[in-house]
Amino acid sequence: MRRLATAVALAMALALGTQAAAATDTTLAAVKQRGELICGANGTLAGFGMPDPQGNWTGFDVDFCRAIAAAIFNDPQKVKFVPLTAKDRFTALQSGEIDVLSRNTTWTLSRDTSLGLDFAAITYFDGQGFMVRKALKVSSALELSDASVCVQQGTTSELNLADYFRSNRMSLKSVTFATGEEALKAYESGRCDAYTTDSSGLYGERLELTDPSQHIVLPEIISKEPLSPVVRHGDNQWTDIVRWTHFVMIDAEELGINKGNVDAKLKSNDPETRRLLGVEGQYGEALGLTNDWAYRIIKHVGNYGESFERNIGQGSPLKIVRGLNALWTKGGLQYGPPVR
């Protein structure tokens, strides 16, 4: 119902209001004036975006918003998180309810062009997978012809699922739910033979099942899912800030700068390090921020690798390997353009 409310609110705003912030005021100015960043996050996906029992939001996507807040306010706590379902998320961003959407969202051409939104940078290279019960004795997704598959609607997963079954000439019985939680619950109750979502999500959601050892993730990755934070189209300064927040976290990892040694690195003689941390040059001010913006990010949140390992990698219950998300120097795809 909340999704409907958001959609109706958007319709009303568009019909009755003049364009709220985008045309006259920049997002950065609005965020600074408000004193906090409003970040659309998942809310139910362990490792990526979920409040813990004390109400503190944690996760890989959450840390990304904290990094933006750190860059602007020098305080990673100045973020308000808004939990969104897959169906709500774009409407919430379009209507100005949130400043940035950091919620495992796939970058596609149609989303980039027709929603009035821009995708900033690929923070996680993902792909769609399937989870099934061990008892089903299925070892490949290609054996799933005629199976019932639970899926969250309004996702690329829903579309890829139909594509995959179609291109492999298998018949599909999909059951779609508004939220991932409902789809997962239906899968667990036996309504479906398989559950499908991005494989990063599968790892987290498998752990939420009553007995995770009874379920396996099938080896097939059936799609490309480049996950990216999203901003409104037309505010280029804001897009740059969000994009470069990701890039400096990558660059910091590549340069060996982390939470622990960032203060020491301020005295480094390496020109790349000095530019990144704002010791040399006015790169931060060019973005509309302070020159130590990247230092703040690394000091408060850490580099890309630290955020990855802490939330979804070896330091977390999910134990996801870096794979495609390793640095380009280590055989992965994560590559940060130079700060200069």
Partner: protein, 387 residues
Amino acid sequence: MLQRTLSTRRRLGGVVLQIAIVAAIGGLGYGAAYNAGLNLSRAHIASGFGFWNNTAGFDISQTLIAYSASTSSFGRAFWVGLLNTLLVGAVGIVFATILGFVVGIARLSNNWLVARLAGGYVELVRNVPLLLQLLFWYNAVLKSLPLLHGSMALPGGAILNNRGLFLPRPVFAANFSAVVVVLVGGIICAIGLTVWSRWRHQRTGANVHIFWPSLALIVGLPLIAYAAAGFPLHFNVPQMGRFNVSGGLEILPEFVALALALSVYTAAFIAEVVRAGVLAVSHGQTEAAQALGLRSGQTLRLVVLPQAMRVIVPPLTSQYLNLIKNSSLAVVIGYPDLVQVFAGSVLNITGQAVEVIALTMAVYLAISLFTSLTMNLYIRTVAIPER
């Protein structure tokens, strides 16, 4: 003379005022639409219904008309969702009405236990939020049904498990239509026979037994036609597959849960409406009917209910409208109704919230207005003719 001028002027003033108000509302609507279009293009959000004929690309679990993810359009998905909404609405209304009337009348019963049970039902059901009831029924339905490999085989080749109820699906051969024609003819003849016998009973007092002739007309004739046409009907019996049951007619558990929840919930309100209607009929009517020697069932059917209907129908219409609108809660249990398919998947894939939400609201408005109209026509038939 003066009098007439004044009243004419007043009437003219009223008309001008009304025209002005209509024009203002129309202008406001146009302004809102124009403003929305302008703002959408300024925000670089696609607008218009250009997406209507694009390929949908997603799968829908229950389709009353042919639909495939690879070839069907968003427009087709809209119709699939709309029909699913109408289906669950119609089924819900039928069952809610039956259950509501039974409970409403039972609550007025002289039998202490029956009256208390009906009262308990009403108080329990109407005081728990529908969403919770829906989740309860969905989980109760799903959890209580056997898994696929423990499927219950029902008589006649039907199969029941937590994937749904699978019934043998009738497959009609071409000349089956002849049987239908004969059946309809038989029913029309039987109705004619009934009318004739009533007329004769009123004229002469003689009773004509029409049960057997009617049965012969309605059942016997079509059976003969069916045999003559070479038994043009067979059944596609569901078969167990590796993951699912294939073939047959599939009734999804999501549909059952939603129809059940809507019926049970709305029936509680209808029961109160019925009770109010029956109580509104003066007790003298009942006493008069009993004095004439009518049995209590006849009193209810022939004297009380026809008068009660005039009180019942208007609030009953509201309940029907509520039921149809509440069916949009389908979204939480994965039943592919209009809101789930169109204001859900289609909205999200196209991103065109304004168009999709506006169309969805227009559809619910149209369904509700049509329901109201139908019920208003029905009120006319039960109204007491005034002389």
